[in-house]
């Protein structure tokens, strides 16, 4: 059913393959403060059996003043901040893989994470006429600017339909 008056196109976000170039850098939006509640919920809902991530007494006995954030949650949070810039326009399988993911420093509840990325390579992808390969490196930093994690990701990005 039409709403009558002419409507503008729905505003588009994200980049198509043609809009990426080697060496391009992104300081991604938003930043994100992590809480202890979501960290424990992540551990329990993903059935993580390591008490390090949900038992404060156990964490203290193993060298942590507070329950550390599961590094895989920190990675997911950093990843989420990158998607509007890097992978909003997925083609096909979209996420081709992660050559490397490294956790460099512990993250604790109350820390705020930021994300930045650089395009390492672009190229064709076998069997995908509608998309191309974008290979990025993303860094996650805390509120003190310290590097807490880094990873590389290969993305199959949609080509523009012009």
């Amino acid at each position: 059913m039409s709403r009558g008056a002419p409507l503008p196109e729905r505003r588009d976000r994200g980049r198509t393959f043609e809009q990426f170039a080697v060496g391009q850098r992104f300081d991604h939006h938003w930043g994100r403060t992590l809480t202890e509640a979501e960290s424990i919920a992540f551990a329990t809902t993903t059935m993580n059996a390591s008490p390090l991530y949900f038992n404060a007494q156990f964490a203290a006995a193993h060298g942590h003043d507070r329950i550390p954030v599961d590094p895989l949650l920190a990675w997911n949070i950093v990843f989420g901040m990158t998607v509007e810039d890097l992978s909003f326009q997925l083609a096909g399988a979209g996420n081709l893989g992660y050559p490397v993911i490294r956790f460099l420093r512990a993250v604790y509840p109350g820390d705020t994470l930021y994300a930045e990325s650089e395009v390492l390579a672009i190229g064709p992808w076998k069997g995908a006429d509608d998309g191309g390969l974008v290979h990025v490196r993303t860094l996650g930093r805390n509120q003190r600017g310290q590097l807490v994690l880094e990873y590389e990701r290969k993305i199959l990005v949609r080509k523009g339909r012009r």
Binding site: W30, R32, E38, F42, T45, T46, M47, N48, A49, S50, P51, L52, N55, Q57, F58, A61, H62, P71, L72, L73, W75, N76, I77, F79, G80, M81, V83, E84, S87, F88, L90, A91, G92, A93, G94, N95, L96, G97, Y98, P99, V100, I101, R102, F103, D130, R158
Partner: protein
């Protein structure tokens, strides 16, 4: 505190070539959208059923269904493996060579396997490094995810 964790998953218990089929399975429910949005990931292919049903790529490649965000798949599969591989972990320094081999959809059930690739005792008497090949498997026994995973595992207490 050693009663809080298992006695069959210390560093000494891992041998290269060992394959562990982990006990648990986990069905992916609508909570995958909640997690994806908790990560502020608004990619339409994961969270917008209308887009998935009408976008040409989404309909052709994925049958018009939303695809579960890969970071959630990794988190679930790692969780399923954790009881046997990282209950006694001191740290998990990273992953390498990860690939999503099949899409995961809501309603799929995930299982996990870990192959022990390498054990490195290092010089610290309290722990060592174990490298696993972690595999996520669906209810049709298809491999959906493969990734190498490093875990720093405590040695068995005296």
């Amino acid at each position: 505190m050693k009663h809080l964790t298992g006695s069959d998953n210390y560093f000494e218990d891992f041998t290269p070539g060992q394959r562990i089929r982990h006990t648990l399975g986990r069905t992916v429910g609508p909570e995958h959208v909640t997690f994806t949005l908790q990560c502020m990931n608004g990619v339409p292919l994961h969270v917008n059923a209308d887009f998935c049903a009408t976008d040409p790529v989404a309909t052709e490649r994925f049958g018009g269904r939303a695809v579960v965000y890969g970071g959630y798949v990794l988190a679930l599969v790692r969780g399923l493996a954790s009881r046997d591989t990282s209950e006694n972990a001191m740290a998990e320094p990273g992953f390498a060579n990860g690939r999503h081999l099949k899409p995961v959809f809501e309603g799929d059930t995930l299982y996990a396997e870990s192959d022990v690739i390498e054990v490195s005792p290092g010089h610290d008497p309290t722990h060592g490094l174990v490298r696993f090949l972690l595999r996520g498997i669906n209810q049709r026994d298809e491999v959906v995810l493969e990734i190498e995973r490093d875990v720093v595992v405590r040695r068995r207490p005296a």
